[in-house]
């Protein structure tokens, strides 16, 4: 849409920041607990998983694609990590039984994520499937594999040292926050300061122009989906560690949450425009909203209505300040 195209990220970001500020002030006045540091960390801890997914989603959407499989891949890699950690894996044909250290389990979970991402990327570049279809298929496949791997039962009792990456804290700051902070920093750097980042924007903005300029369009796409898969894997580890349990149905519907965060953050689904910072703000808006609704003890029925309305207002504020599109 022209509108979003003319809409400069900086403006968008400012606007959604405004929406966020309004919510924070409002909740600060309405409740006495919202503006406590505890609650602050609590919100950050809670958005960490969605933020982790949304960072990957942002990169993918900037490149003009989309990834519906994040939630399913999250569940799969979480389950793989837990399974390997708990029982290891038996290779009958070799007659061996491999046990996994925590590191081993973590690495293989991330590898699983990367593999899923690679499949997405190849389906999109080689088979030229629309990203929506390719990743929708992956959603279904990853869900199925998770159920097959777990038999439908949670894998629990992974021990404190594994749990640390999800529940621990360092310098008084929760581990998930540290981890996601690093990821955000890296992603922002990649977007703004690397050739790959520029190529992402170019491909998302005009695939043809990027190609003519000599950008390796297919390679860029492949890489970005692998990155997305890796981040889903990390998110899977976070969830599993926090619950000290890998749930077969973990991450159900997370894809929409994360796309919502990205879009609320001012990234355009038509590709080529967007920013990691915006996505961080988007996640914060959603996190603050959820948290606030509980602090106000809004009935579960009303919560959904209010969420919908707030999303509209937040994004409308976004558009509001931005220059009108010529077609507007």
């Amino acid at each position: 849409m022209n509108v979003t195209i003319l809409n400069t990220p900086s403006v968008a970001r400012l606007q959604s920041l405004l929406a966020l500020a309004l919510m924070v002030v409002g909740l600060g006045l309405m409740t006495d607990t919202f503006l406590t540091s505890d609650n602050g960390w609590n919100i950050l801890r809670q958005i960490s998983v969605n933020l982790c997914l949304s960072v990957g989603m942002t990169l993918i959407i900037i490149s003009g694609g989309i990834d519906l499989s994040v939630g399913a891949v999250l569940a799969l890699s979480g389950a793989v990590a837990a399974g390997l950690l708990k029982q290891g894996i038996a290779l009958p044909f070799l007659g061996v039984h491999l046990d996994f250290t925590i590191t081993g389990a973590i690495v293989s979970a991330i590898a699983v994520g990367a593999a899923a991402g690679a499949c997405n990327g190849l389906a999109i570049t080689r088979l030229q499937l629309p990203p929506f279809v390719a990743t929708l298929a992956m959603l279904s496949i990853a869900r199925g594999l998770t159920l097959l791997w777990t038999g439908g039962f949670p894998i629990t009792g992974l021990g404190p040292s594994f749990g640390f990456i999800g529940t621990g804290a360092w310098l008084g700051i929760p581990m998930p926050v540290w981890e996601v902070l690093v990821i955000v920093m890296l992603a922002a750097l990649v977007c703004k300061r690397t050739a790959f980042g520029r190529h992402l924007y170019a491909v998302g903005g005009s695939e043809r122009a990027a190609l003519l300029a000599g950008v390796r369009v297919e390679r860029v796409k492949l890489i970005v989906y692998v990155v997305g898969g890796v981040l889903s894997g990390v998110a899977g580890l976070l969830v599993t560690a926090r619950l000290d349990s890998a749930q077969p149905n973990a991450g159900l519907g997370y894809e929409l949450d994360s796309i919502a965060a990205v879009v609320i953050g001012g990234t355009s689904l038509s590709g080529g425009r967007g920013s990691i910072v915006g996505t961080v703000i988007g996640c914060l808006i959603i996190g603050v909203l959820n948290n606030g609704l509980f602090l106000l003890d809004v009935s579960p029925f009303w919560q959904q209505v209010i969420k919908g309305l707030v999303i509209i207002v937040a994004v409308a504020l976004d558009r509001f300040g931005a220059p009108k599109g010529r077609a507007g």
Binding site: N42, P154, R242, D297
Partner: protein
């Protein structure tokens, strides 16, 4: 006036296939996986060919399953209904095609099923509530975590619980939120509720997954042990946690018992037996640290 699928004459009993359909409301929750798998194993043990259908909590998907079941002439359906009301029309489809239906765990408001072996969620919740009141000494502040708000059992359990607890003015519910039977949802909801106030004495959860999620939140808030957590279902994790004193109590439903019984009924019915109980409530037992020894995976020890 019925669609051709329904109007097809069902073959006379006896000439029936030995295929049994196990239709389960969801496989996204381990408790139902146990239910489905046990039913399958028992039916297979009685050498029937078994197919498991996952309704994904959607009566419409369940409807599609029943149409397929009718079209391919299954001998019987072992049903874990998605909804007490929404599943009635589906069961009628089978009934019309002379395919006997046996429900397990969740009762449906209809006479159509041959027999209903159901877990008495309401009574179970009452037992938990009584234990709850004793543990708290009739006064205190508590939180209730509801399951999926569109699920019958969510409300059966909540109503059973409140039927007791609400009689004690000393017991104050400071929050009632839904965590959708989900462990990680429960964790987040509990975390947020704890922000409002940490002076909580107990949490009543609509199932064990939520109880364990809530416990995880209390743990990281340093309230583990100070706050009593009550669950429902009697899943392995929950039993282990009760043994370790993490959870205070849960209600053991007997998915395996129900599944076996239903499979047996179906078999006997297909043998020609007709005097089967139309409605057979399986009592739900309270599990506490005291009697934990009597219970094993999803049932009594040695089952």
């Amino acid at each position: 006036s019925r669609g051709p699928a329904e109007s097809t004459p069902a073959p006379a009993p006896g000439a029936q296939s030995r295929q049994i359909a196990v239709v389960v409301s969801t496989l996204n929750n381990p408790w139902f996986v146990v239910l489905a798998n046990t039913a399958r194993d028992e039916a297979q043990r009685r050498n029937y060919k078994v197919t498991i259908f996952d309704s994904q909590n959607d009566p419409a998907k369940e409807a599609a399953h029943f149409e397929n079941i009718v079209a391919s002439r299954y001998a019987a359906v072992l049903l874990n209904a998605t909804d007490a009301e929404g599943s009635v029309a589906n069961v009628m489809k089978a009934r019309v095609a002379n395919i006997p239906v046996f429900t397990m765990d969740r009762e449906i408001n209809s006479r159509a099923p041959v027999s209903q072996v159901l877990s008495d969620n309401y009574a179970g919740a009452v037992d938990v509530a009584i234990e709850f009141v004793e543990q708290l000494g009739e006064r205190g502040r508590y939180v209730e975590l509801l399951g999926i708000v569109t699920d019958n059992n969510t409300w059966n359990r909540s109503k059973g619980f409140h039927s007791v607890v609400d009689r004690y003015p000393g017991l104050e519910m400071i929050a009632q939120q839904s965590a959708e039977f989900d462990r990680s949802k429960a964790l987040e909801v509990m975390e947020s509720i704890l922000q409002r106030s940490t002076s909580i004495d107990a949490v009543f959860c609509g199932n064990d997954a939520m109880a364990l999620g809530a416990y995880q939140a209390l743990l990281s808030a340093g309230l583990a042990g100070k706050v009593k957590v009550f669950g429902f279902d009697g899943s392995d994790d929950a039993l282990a946690s009760i043994a370790e004193g993490k959870l205070t109590a849960t209600a053991m439903q007997y998915p395996k018992t129900m599944a076996r019984m239903v499979a047996e009924f179906a078999d006997r019915y297909l043998q020609g037996e007709r005097n089967l109980p139309a409605r057979l409530p399986i009592h739900v037992d309270l599990v506490t640290r005291g009697n934990i020894g009597e219970f094993g995976e999803h049932g009594r020890r040695g089952e």
